[in-house]
Point group: C3
Chain length 111, copies 3
């Protein structure tokens, strides 16, 4: 079990660049870290768009970072769920996931 | 006692719509949740304005969600405290309330 | 040891005024509080600029509030580290510091 657990919350698409830089720098720190990213609201749209942001997500997922998307938000933003990349986990409600992960010891960060 | 406790922080009026949608979806999740909303800075003004936002707050309050307003912020924003709806609790300092509730096991969320 | 511990995160320069007001009001509350501020991203630039914001930081530091700056962000924003005021502590990675302090019992606040 990792010594430290970090939980990143994003609900604005414009914050993806900053969030991914935060996660990349945290992984480079050399600390043993378990990291999770939970997206809700409009920020879930970016999972469905090819490009530099999704390539960075994919690389981080390959390094063990988890990415979750709120199903309510996917539906509200008309995102085609079957077309999402495999590294995205769908959770029933993003806020509930944020509360459950914090209850399990993850430390909340909102970039 | 609820299994999970969520604490929503708001300090920007523009975020009320998103925050209330978050709270509504969390209640619909079917998880046993105790939910609190703490407002400070300009976001306390919305407690004093009739309209759709306050109707949504009122419905959530009736379902057990607590709403607190920072007294410093109410005074700094010239809000007429006696005219606030009954469901709003006045706390001496919003940040202190956020720290006390987290210390009591509430999980912080900033929409 | 203080009964309550508050941890303020800032990554946008525009939020310094609000954050410092939050910290000032928290200190005035009369509660026994240990308070830390961690800055990353563009928000670290303000440590290098003379003016009203830095004077307020300096007064709070003299009252025991700690201020930390992310080294990654200082370098990324071309801030001249040796010229920073003495009250600023440099940490290797701001997000790691936020996770470590929360793990040590600090309650996260993002103004």
């Amino acid at each position: 079990m990792a010594e430290y657990k970090g939980l990143f919350h994003i609900d604005e698409s414009a914050k993806w660049g900053l969030l991914l830089t935060n996660v990349e720098n945290t992984l480079k720190s050399g600390e043993e870290m378990e990291l999770a990213v939970v997206a809700n609201a409009e920020a879930v749209r970016d999972f469905a768009q090819e490009g530099a942001i999704r390539e960075r997500m994919s690389k981080l997922a390959a390094q063990g970072v988890s990415f979750s998307a709120c199903r309510n938000a996917l539906q509200g933003n008309n995102v085609d769920i079957p077309s999402l990349p495999d590294f995205v986990q769908i959770v029933p409600a993003g806020i509930v996931e944020l509360i459950k992960l914090q209850t399990a010891g993850f430390c909340y960060i909102k970039p």
